[in-house]
């Protein structure tokens, strides 16, 4: 029996909500902004459900949408969505100031800020979201052959900025993601 549009969307929302919200929280200073990015991203997914790829490509697609929403928000052209009012309130009240369960050591985060925006973004997608080059390419709208060397160079630059921990290459966080399928 064919799954209805509503069923498909509910499944997508349930599967990827935490990942999209996590992506937004890791890139915004205010939890309310992360709520907006999440609401807007899932609104786009609802309206363009026919275009949402299935399987392992879903999450990079959602990250790609969230990335564009975030870019709009950063340059001030983002109109705050009317959706997700309660989520904004709950998030503002619940996101802790500190946590043991973080995707990156503070020294690595500090070092990453010294890299170019381009290096930072590709590293964030790899280390924070645990994406492979192919998936990063989907998010950024680039090709894998561009992303692979870019990621490699960014990792090398990051290593250079972490002289106190030779050989201690930061590894991607282990999210509760479905098993990665290579491209």
């Amino acid at each position: 029996m064919t799954e209805s549009r509503e069923e498909t969307y509910r499944r997508l929302y349930a599967t990827h909500f935490d990942a999209v919200l996590g992506y937004a929280l890791r890139r915004t200073d205010r939890p309310e902004d992360a709520a907006d990015v999440t609401a807007e991203t899932f609104l786009v997914a609802w309206r363009r459900l026919a275009h949402v790829p299935s399987g392992p490509e879903t999450r990079p697609w959602l990250y790609g949408v969230a990335r564009r929403v975030l870019a709009n928000q950063r340059r001030g052209s983002h109109r705050r969505t009317a959706l997700g009012g309660r989520l904004r309130l709950e998030l503002a009240a619940s996101v802790p100031d500190t946590s043991d369960d973080v995707v990156q050591r503070a020294d690595v985060v500090t070092a990453m800020r010294r890299l170019s925006a381009r290096d930072q973004e590709v590293l964030e997608l790899h280390l924070w979201e645990g994406l492979e080059p192919r998936e990063i390419a989907e998010v950024l709208g680039l090709t894998t052959v561009v992303v692979r060397p870019r990621l490699s160079r960014a990792r090398a630059r990051l290593r250079d900025l972490l002289p106190d921990s030779p050989g201690d290459d930061p590894e991607p966080v282990s999210h509760q993601l479905s098993r990665k399928v290579r491209p």
């Binding site: 929280l25 052209s77 998030l91 946590s99 973080v102 894998t144």
Partner: protein, 338 residues
């Protein structure tokens, strides 16, 4: 500052009502696009800046001919690949190149014919074990690949989501291995198609690609062509005092190469506007705005516009400057260098 919470930590946050309410709010909004939900993963198409003509058309017209095989010095299924011939192409009637992404270490090449697709990928030998292990898990229960022969060597075959999506990983040769993936074809069709795959070296590979594929010296020619198009509207290309010595791109796809070049020109003038605004130099601001106003006419962007998001983003920044707004965040959004 938010801690960089993991997704697991996010899942633990007490957001149940907000999360449920947002879902219902979204689903109560009108749907603009109600076509059937797609069940197949999409193919990311490389949209050729220049219509796939010349080489691809010729390739399609003479596909399968013994002449092409011999003129390109190709090594077919009965001949092992020579040194450096770890790339592969398909020469079969009706099959045409849809997209190509390749560098010296690895590459992906997609052919299409009607609703069918055939993808050739090559990777360094070091990635072989990882790929084989991964393919063992493409089914619910992990399975070893079925032994088949590809180009005179052993290979392992699996099936993605049903029997009509086969894929095979060929044994390592010359420091690389091939993966050949069919979509919407029977196993018999797929195995027959494997006989039409040929190993090629770098030069023969480039010769067999559509005209939108640029490599080596052709790349700089393409950069110059993009710049010529922009120069018709912009003079000079860079503001006085810029430290830029040249424009270049490492892309082998004309679309992406065009993005690189247009971005670099635009970034130069966005930066010029911001810098001039900082020191209150109205004349420099006016000049930068005047040049950015022409971005809508730059041929490389205009040709790309119907399919690409990048031109729209670049124009948005250009339009803001023209409207007198100081650009902010463009470096990150447009991926400007530096």
């Amino acid at each position: 500052m938010n801690p960089l919470l993991t997704d697991d930590a996010v899942a633990e946050l007490p957001l149940h009502r907000g999360r449920a309410e947002l879902l219902e709010e979204i689903m109560s909004t009108s749907v603009l696009d109600d076509r059937p939900v797609r069940t197949d993963p999409p193919r990311r198409r490389t949209t050729w800046l220049v219509p796939v003509a010349a080489a691809a058309a010729v390739l399609a017209l003479i596909a399968g001919s013994a002449w092409l095989v011999s003129s390109l010095g190709l090594r077919g299924p009965d001949v092992a690949g020579g040194p450096g011939a770890y790339r592969a192409i398909l020469i079969a009637p009706g099959w045409t190149v849809d997209s190509v992404n390749a560098d010296d270490a690895s590459g992906e090449l997609t052919y299409v014919k009607g609703g069918q697709q055939f993808e050739i990928s090559w990777y360094p030998a070091a990635e072989y074990d990882g790929y084989v292990e991964d393919r063992r898990h493409i089914t619910e229960t992990p399975v070893d690949g079925q032994p088949v022969e590809v180009l005179g060597r052993g290979a392992l075959m699996w099936f993605y989501a049903g029997a009509d999506n086969p894929t095979a990983i060929r044994d390592v040769e010359d420091g690389h291995f091939l993966e050949l993936r069919g979509k919407s074809m029977s196993t018999a069709e797929y195995l027959a198609l494997l006989d039409d795959v040929h190993l090629v070296d770098r030069d023969d590979f480039a010769a067999a690609m559509p005209s939108a594929y640029v490599d080596g010296t052709a790349r700089q020619v393409a950069v110059d062509r993009v710049l010529d198009g922009i120069t018709d509207y912009v003079g000079p290309l860079i503001p006085p005092g810029s430290t830029r010595g040249s424009f270049s791109s490492a892309e082998d796809d004309l679309d992406l190469l065009g993005v690189d070049v247009a971005r670099d020109v635009a970034c130069e003038w966005l930066t010029e506007y911001a810098d001039a605004h900082r020191v209150g130099d109205q004349a420099r601001m006016a000049k930068a705005a005047e040049i950015l106003a022409t971005a809508h006419d730059w041929p490389v962007l205009a040709e790309m516009a119907p399919s690409g998001e990048y031109p729209a983003l670049l124009w948005e920044y250009a339009d803001r400057v023209v409207a007198g707004e100081v650009p902010r965040g463009y470096g990150r959004a447009l991926a400007c260098e530096g």
